[in-house]
Subunit: 454 residues, 2 copies
């Protein structure tokens, strides 16, 4: 690794120049801005390391996907998943400097997408170039084949990615894969996440009349707010147990290895508790019980609810319409479509046929086999590169589109990357820190080298 390290250090400025140009493209998926131009830029970046690359269209409403392949000296294949789209930069006035012009302040670089997810791809390409320069391969060939899948609408839920991966499963076939990113925790320990929760997002609407009425009709006219409140109250009880019949049926029990990783996790929830100003977590959990819920427990969360008069003072009104948005974070092997159906059946059975599921959108959960040898590759290389014991999460609590790759390609996926706890992904002043950029790059290089040796 010494030569790799030297190469990375010597070529860091080149990589940062590339990153600067990449961030300058305002590839906001939700705004369709410079999407085609950014896809072409990515294709050129992949080609610059010797990969073949192609921009392919995804079924509507998806943005184009860039696929690439860099043949190695073995057929052992690592798939790198990334995305070139970014979150909207609004509100602009909360940024210290223009979001699409990279600003450097000491070791910190700011810009929209610099961490999520453009910096990760640039870092991975630098790792590849470093290996090409120093490995004793045939014409600089790597010991493993690298495939790239860089999609363009991760920030809007990766529509049609599942169909795309299924369609190109042979071309994308791999042995192992890396998520879009990764990074370190507040103590600088590298984080390795082996999965994500899925999600089912729904909007529930109750309508009881054509228009609001005076609340003196409260004795007789049905109230949409009450209908919705009663319907919601049937979904989850105050002990946080989801009451939809069959909701937990498909939940896969934690394996012994997952339990072992769980026990090794640091307990950082007290910081979260203080930051949020929360008195107690739900069910009073702390420590391992907290981690267990975050990793293994599916959720049912009200994101928002509104009905009737919500301004200052009183208004004696009886609302005709009420709306709530909810998301369910799902764990393997829950299926968002199946949960949506069970939700409908449950509402019907509880007497709420009148409560409409007005919108429904889902992503599958995905979790790698914690016993897969790839997990040990990522873990041991992280330990060596960072000089600290990695923290292994059997799954994160959030949602990313890993299921299409894990399911259709059968690959385990792990995270490795350049992020840090204050990266402010999705927020103003998104940033990366250079020492983390270098460490993440070295880690990816080490993973590739180890895979080639294995």
């Amino acid at each position: 690794m010494t030569d790799v390290t030297s190469y990375i250090d010597a070529h860091l400025d080149e990589a940062l120049k590339q990153l600067r140009d990449y961030v300058a493209l305002p590839s906001v998926a939700a705004q369709d801005a410079s999407i085609a131009e950014t896809a072409a830029f990515v294709k050129a970046m992949l080609e610059s390391v010797g990969a073949t690359a192609e921009v392919l269209s995804k079924e509507a409403p998806g943005n184009p996907v860039v696929l690439g392949e860099l043949a190695g000296t073995s057929s052992k294949t690592l798939l790198l998943y990334n995305h070139y789209d970014v979150q909207p930069a609004e509100p602009f006035d909360l940024w210290t400097s223009p979001p699409f012009e990279v600003r450097r302040e000491g070791d910190v670089l700011y810009g929209r997408g610099i961490s999520d997810n453009k910096g990760h791809l640039v870092s991975r390409l630098l790792a590849i170039r470093a290996l090409q320069a120093v490995l004793p391969g045939k014409d600089g060939a790597l010991p493993v084949t690298i495939k790239f899948l860089v999609e363009g609408d991760e920030e809007v839920g990766s529509p049609k990615l599942d169909e795309f991966v299924a369609q190109h499963r042979v071309r994308l076939a791999a042995d192992v894969a890396l998520h879009e990113g990764g990074g370190v925790n507040a103590s600088g320990r590298p984080l390795v996440s082996l999965g994500v929760k899925g999600i089912l997002a729904v909007q529930l609407v109750a309508r009881t009349a054509k228009r609001d009425s005076h609340s003196s009709y409260g004795a007789t006219v049905p109230n949409a707010a009450w209908r919705l409140v009663w319907a919601l109250a049937t979904l989850k009880d105050a002990n946080e147990r989801v009451r939809i019949p069959g909701f937990y049926d498909a939940v896969r029990p934690a394996t012994e290895q997952e339990e072992a990783f769980l026990r090794e996790l640091p307990h950082e929830e007290e910081t979260t508790r203080q930051n949020l100003g929360v008195r107690d977590f739900v069910c009073g959990v702390r420590g391992e019980a907290y981690s267990r819920r975050m990793i293994f427990e599916p959720t049912c969360t009200i994101n928002g609810i509104v009905s009737g008069y919500t301004g200052e003072g009183k208004k004696t009104v009886l609302p005709a319409e009420a709306m709530a948005k909810l998301d369910f974070r799902l764990v393997p092997d829950q299926d968002p479509g199946d949960i949506a159906e069970k939700l409908r059946r449950h509402l019907d059975a509880e007497g709420f046929r009148d409560v409409e599921i007005a919108a429904s959108d889902g992503e599958f959960p995905a979790r790698s086999d914690a016993d897969h040898p790839f997990v040990e590759v990522v873990r041991s290389t992280a330990r060596e590169v960072y000089g600290k014991e990695p923290v292994i999460y059997p799954s994160g609590a959030g949602t990313q589109p890993l299921h299409p790759m894990m399911h259709h390609l059968g690959v385990p996926m792990a995270s490795a990357g350049i992020g840090h706890p204050d990266s402010r992904a999705h927020a103003p002043d998104e940033n990366i820190v250079l020492p983390n950029f270098v460490l993440g790059t070295k880690h990816v290089a080490a993973i590739i080298e180890r895979l080639g040796a294995g």
Copy 2:
């Protein structure tokens, strides 16, 4: 009554001129506009029929009250309750013409407060002048003493009226009283209401954290929207039964006479059902069961609820704060203060100490004794004047400040006035219809005459 009728017809234009000047004063209680000027105007109107009158201040935050007295040839006393304040006229652009300039179109007169409640006082004064002109009394004296109580902030809940009436109970002492108004239903039958529901309005607030968090924390961070939904769901079940212990304890059973009036009520709920586009009323009630709920059943109504993200699309947020506004319509002898205490105890007992009652405001219910001879006076005179069978409501479903008078003065109160179903009180293009103005005036004159004869 023939002479009274002739007098009223002959002096109608004078009364309408007075009403025009009265409406021109924009006495919006909530805006403190021309309140003092209007109180002085009312005092002068009362003096113009020979009454002694005085403007008295009410304890803060109340507006001044105008008291008046017109001695009769007997000590038998009728109290007339009215208010000189009006609802705000906003939104102005929904008015066909300026709200504080009376506009006449055929038999319809438009203006803010023309029905609620300025027209009623002008009508009552015209009735008094007609009787003074035609009755064979001593110097035009009426056979009964008339007392006036004209308050200035009914439209903002009559703050401190209870204390005011208690303080002036001797000066206000009366045998019987008329509400602020009354009128006819869609069939032109005179409506006589003998009471009102009370109200307790509250605002409930749940706070679980200092700020919203990402919904991936749904497994551990307490959600204010869930806390509030669960708390609300304990208040009333889907069968419309309020679950607060002791909520129904003080509910006074209907008397035989009230039941008799109930059975005689016309069934007009089908029109309401169609206007509102409601499929079924709560508990499937129709006909007498509908009327029974509207008159005798206390309510618990969500007026509004809001928490988290309620805009377009999805937002994976976990809300830190949630708020709901509710009103409880109360029936005799429920006490809003007692119900507020029971609500607090109930929330505590159900595990919702964290749900704050952030605002609480109430008015007592009030219902006249349906067997009181005054009811028959109002009913029989209405039958004679209108030539149609009156409709007697033991109580309305809404709330007006009748409790201070009924409770402190011990008077029965009934409605008699000039309104009609499309008066649009509180709405743009508030109006009265002249034939109803004349009928209501004659009805009040007939009530005074009959009281004097009794």
